[in-house]
């Protein structure tokens, strides 16, 4: 009888130990290093934080990363929800289309990069089309257009995943509620706003958080296409961390990582609080 109440904890143990050893404990070390010199470990208080908040590269990268999340998240969530709702109605093709939307997730980053280069190079396919249409070509990767390219890439890659998540959330809303509403004369929009949206609210929190965290993974494509120093608008925090690591600027890297983790934690808490209040 005594064991029974610990069974759940025991099943949690492997995962918890793994997370602790590979994430939590190293992160605590990162927190420690954020208060010390890069080499030698001398305690420097908040000097590293002062240094990064006065560092133009960090401010630019943080701004770009937040801007990217602020632009991409709403776009992705709205588009993927729209497609999920449509797919739910298209019963005949929904299985095939769900699979089709997931294809980008299965394509390795290196292949995506090749596609990017073919499409967005100065002499690439897109500029070829523009030139054929009598327009002048755009330097996609060396102007502000690069931000749009990055947003497009992120949405293209993650759309299928979010669609599947939304479909899972939508399936949790009982069909009988829709049937009852329609009997009472509710149209599609009314059903969507008064039944679908409230019904998927629990799933929405998870989808928002996952999409937010996925937005940090877009760095891979940006790095592979444009290297360590891309156009200013797509210079993200991960570029900076990579470069700091190369230069052995562990002090800056640690304080930057702690700041970033704090911001993510704060935003997730804020999101959860707003969800709970509703």
């Amino acid at each position: 009888m005594g064991w029974k109440k610990y069974t759940g904890w025991l099943f949690l143990l492997p995962g918890f130990l793994g997370v602790s050893v590979f994430y939590l404990i190293p992160f605590l070390d990162v927190v420690r290093r954020s208060f010390t010199q890069a080499v030698g470990g001398k305690f420097v208080g908040l000097a590293n934080y002062q240094m990064i908040f006065g560092n133009q590269a960090f401010l630019m990268a943080a701004k770009n990363t937040l801007r990217f999340a602020a632009v991409c998240l709403p776009l992705l969530l709205v588009i993927s929800l729209g497609i999920a709702v449509l797919l739910q109605k298209l019963e005949a093709w929904s299985g095939f289309l769900k699979g089709a939307y997931l294809i980008p997730l299965a394509i390795p980053a290196a292949s995506v990069v090749l596609l990017w280069k073919l499409l967005f190079d100065g002499r690439g396919i897109l500029n070829g089309i523009l030139t054929a249409a009598g327009q002048s070509g755009i330097d996609w990767m060396n102007t502000g257009a690069s931000f749009g390219v990055l947003v497009f890439s992120y949405i293209w890659k993650n759309l299928g995943y979010d669609v599947v998540l939304w479909i899972a959330g939508l399936s949790m809303v009982p069909k009988q509620v829709y049937e009852a509403a329609r009997v009472d004369g509710a149209g599609e929009w009314r059903c969507f706003f008064y039944i679908t949206l409230p019904g998927i609210r629990p799933a929405a929190f998870t989808i928002v958080v996952i999409s937010f965290l996925n937005s940090f993974k877009v760095f891979r494509e940006a790095y592979l296409v444009a290297g360590n120093y891309p156009q200013d608008d797509i210079y993200l925090l991960q570029h900076l961390f990579q470069n700091w690591f190369r230069e052995l600027s562990v002090d800056k890297m640690a304080s930057g990582a702690v700041t970033m983790a704090a911001v993510i934690f704060f935003l997730v808490c804020l999101l959860q609080k707003s969800w709970d209040q509703k």
């Binding site: 064991w3 029974k4 069974t7 025991l10 099943f11 143990l13 492997p14 130990l17 793994g18 050893v21 010199q37 890069a38 080499v39 030698g40 560092n55 133009q56 590269a57 630019m60 100065g122 060396n142 360590n228 120093y229 156009q231 200013d232 210079y235 900076l240 990579q242 470069n243 700091w244 690591f245 190369r246 230069e247 052995l248 600027s249 562990v250």
Partner: protein, 765 residues
């Protein structure tokens, strides 16, 4: 039932935990790059590969190792043509003296501690390209075709003769590639077609040995009365008397992993000889010396190349000799062509592997570094030097990845003791206290041998020296007098070139270069002044550089055929120091251009330039402002401040900057003055032959520098003030965008803007 379920659940949970952490076990054993000197058996080829990455710690504590001694050859020996063990146990070599143009047979009865030298008498003067020592103490010396031959008896009497080689094709004569004597005194020769013969020097006849072999032999070694020959499909041991092939699969596979071409003129990636035991073979390569018993499935590593000079990749192998089971000799020549004879004697009291370890890191390997390691290893047999190269040809990782790996090692406390700083973010390392001050060490070398003070001065920061190049070069304008007059800036030089072009639009004014080669050479010439006082990059100077590069590149339109023939096939060495200026002179010689900008990196380069100028006129001058000229540093070294082997690290750096090491190669001018004097002293005279674009022959006689020329060079070396911009990130960004610009992708202004945007980002980090 429920108890059982719970128990299963508990076991599964614990198993998951255990499995999850199973991967955390540290299985990393190898600390060293060598197997130690103790013998170690390896299975077939896989085993061999493993042997070069063995555990330093595993063998730690054992006793017994072959120790190396470099033997001093008689002073008249400029070249060694052959070596051999005589039946009385003594060793003889055939040597040649360049000044007297005389051949010698030198014999030692005490394994190289003392030599008896005999001039080969009575022979007509001819060019000897091949020689072999007979077991009775006699020798044979031959011209490349076997048409002229001298056989020397053990008593020293010489008889002229010739060998009738079959297989001449039209007017093309057959040639002798290699010669050697078997233990029973049979002369074996290999012709240029890869056919092995038994030869009778007295009768002048040859008899084919490898009639039943369809493959050609690349080269061979003698093992008793057998020939061990390297062919395309592997290594074969053949009875020299019967031509019978002794099948041995393990021996056949020995060369399978060779990265080097197996065929070579007078130098071979593998040497073969007989082992002390019957039916055994010894082979030598840069990984070490190995023993193989015929029919066995193992190759036993007796000497680890990483611990001795065998590991020096610049050493060209010539011949190996087995004296007995505990003594071996290896003959070779260094990168300057100086003959080197090494003796290895087993010392049962020496520790199997050195007890201390010194870690040396470089992003890229270099001859200079390898020589420094070999030199240090010889001086300190009790210290194992573990060399780590960040960028190799095999793994495809980028410099960024390599540097991040280095950062991880340093942060984990496993960082190197000595760093070769080429391509490494030196500024950041100094700022973080990674590098130790080595000013006192540099000054010690300066007191002993003298250093180029101007180079040293350029590296003093706040009274400390954290980084010191071991070699350097500098950019020059080479060409006709008018071009050399425009040496002060890229703009002035291009004005000259454009003026020349407008007066004769059909001529090639500038010597050809690839886009990358040109951008690198102009970067070496111009980049020293790009940094502003606040640390940022001067956008105007950058744009001017790109504009000049573009104009330079576009001025002469070389046809694709000319370009392929003359540029791609020409040896432009862009990565390291390579003497592009002498290439400019060579292009002028074949009438491709009147002038060019390139780097000078050795006395040999200067000799070649003067040789060309002696024939077709012209001059060379340092490129850039007269009182602010720059140099290209190479193999810059630093010591890790946290090094656990600080004294050894200091000794290593001292060796690297010291006279002996700096004399050993010409991969850049040495910073050591005594070594520079040695380079001047060691100049050789030779001829270069080539053909012009119109098919006519062109050639120059390269002479030793006159006193005046040597003084001019010394003044030039002493006038260099500052290093070029060595920041790897900036250099890569500039070259990358520059190549796009030269290829027609945007204007120099656009390219400069793109570079500045990225550099600003980089500098703001």
């Amino acid at each position: 039932m429920r108890k059982g379920t719970r128990a299963i659940g508990l076991i599964l949970a614990l198993a998951l935990t255990a499995v999850g952490f199973a991967g955390c076990k540290d299985t990393k054993k190898d600390v060293g790059n060598g197997s130690g000197g103790g013998t170690q058996k390896t299975e077939g080829q896989d085993g061999l590969e493993g042997s070069s990455e063995d555990a330093f710690s595993d063998n730690y504590g054992g006793k017994g190792r072959f120790l190396e001694t470099e033997l001093t050859l008689p002073k008249e020996t400029d070249r060694v043509l052959a070596a051999g063990k005589l039946s009385d146990g003594s060793i003889s070599v055939v040597g040649y003296n360049v000044n007297s143009m005389q051949y010698y047979i030198m014999n030692t009865k005490d394994l190289g501690d003392s030599w008896d030298s005999k001039e080969v008498q009575g022979m007509e003067l001819f060019y000897v390209s091949r020689a072999a020592i007979a077991p009775d103490g006699g020798a044979v010396l031959m011209d490349p075709y076997g048409e002229e031959l001298v056989q020397v008896t053990p008593e020293g009497a010489a008889t002229a003769g010739s060998l009738a080689l079959p297989g001449a094709e039209g007017e093309k004569k057959n040639q002798i590639q290699q010669a050697g004597y078997t233990e029973d005194g049979t002369l074996i020769v290999l012709d240029i077609k890869g056919v092995l013969y038994r030869a009778d020097a007295k009768q002048g006849t040859v008899e084919e040995i490898t009639k039943n072999m369809s493959e050609e032999a690349y080269y061979f070694g003698i093992a008793g009365n057998d020939i061990v020959t390297v062919m395309g499909s592997g290594v074969y041991r053949i009875d020299a008397g019967t031509g019978e092939i002794k099948k041995d699969e393990t021996l056949r596979q020995v060369t399978d992993s060779s990265q080097e071409p197996l065929g070579g003129e007078n130098s071979y990636p593998y040497l073969f000889t007989a082992g002390a035991e019957a039916d055994s073979t010894i082979y030598v390569n840069h990984e070490g010396l190995f023993f193989h018993q015929m029919g066995g499935s193992v190759n036993e590593q007796l000497i680890n190349g990483a611990l001795v000079s065998l590991g020096d990749s610049s050493l060209s192998f010539q011949q190996a000799l087995t004296i007995d089971e505990s003594t071996y000799l290896v003959l070779g020549s260094d990168s300057l062509g100086v003959p080197r004879l090494y003796r290895y004697i087993y010392d049962s009291q020496a520790s199997a592997v050195p007890e201390k370890q010194l870690k040396v890191y470089a992003l890229e390997d270099s001859v200079t570094l390898q020589q420094a390691i070999s030199y240090f290893q010889k001086q300190n047999p009790d210290v194992f030097v573990k060399k780590t190269i960040g960028l190799t040809d095999n793994d495809g990782i980028t410099a960024e990845d390599a540097l991040r790996t280095l950062s991880t090692d340093i942060m984990a406390g496993n960082g190197p003791d000595v760093l070769i700083l080429d391509g490494i973010p030196v500024e950041s390392y100094i700022e973080k206290g990674i590098l130790a001050d080595m000013k006192d060490l540099v000054e010690e070398v300066e007191e002993e041998d003298g250093l180029f003070e101007n180079i040293k001065e350029a590296y003093i920061r706040d009274g400390s020296i954290y980084e010191m190049p071991s070699r350097f070069g500098f950019s020059v304008v080479e060409g006709e007098a008018e071009a050399v007059g425009a040496k002060n800036s890229l703009e002035a030089f291009l004005e000259y070139a454009k003026g020349k072009k407008s007066s004769d639009p059909d001529t090639h004014v500038l010597t050809p270069m690839s886009a990358s080669g040109l951008l690198h050479e102009l970067y070496y010439a111009d980049s020293a002044g790009w940094r502003k006082e606040d640390g940022s990059l001067d956008a105007e100077k950058l744009e001017a550089y790109l504009k000049a590069a573009k104009e330079y590149f576009d001025l002469d339109t070389y046809s694709q055929e000319e370009y392929n023939d003359q540029v791609e096939n020409y040896t432009f060495r862009l990565g390291g120091m390579g003497g592009a200026a002498s290439t400019v002179a060579n292009f002028r010689l074949i009438l491709m251009g009147y002038a060019g900008i390139g780097t000078i990196s050795s006395v040999r380069d200067v000799q070649q330039i003067y040789a060309t100028e002696a024939q077709i006129g012209g001059a060379y001058e340092i490129f850039g402002e007269a009182d602010n000229s720059s140099f290209v540093p190479y193999v810059s070294v630093g010591i890790a401040a946290q090094s656990a082997e600080n004294q050894q690290a200091r000794a290593f750096v001292k060796g690297l900057l010291g006279k002996e090491c700096q004399t050993a190669s010409s991969d850049g001018f040495p910073v050591n003055r005594a070594a520079y004097q040695e380079h001047l002293k060691n100049q050789k005279e030779y001829a270069i032959g080539t053909s012009r674009l119109d098919g006519t022959a062109a050639g120059v006689d390269v002479k030793v520098l006159t006193e005046e020329q040597a003084n001019t060079l010394l003044k030039q070396l002493e006038s260099l003030k500052r290093p070029i911009l060595t920041d790897r990130v900036i250099q890569e960004l500039v070259i990358e965008e520059g190549i796009k610009c030269l290829g027609g992708d945007g204007t120099p202004k656009e390219a400069a803007d793109r570079i500045m945007q990225k550099v600003k980002l980089y500098l703001s980090e």
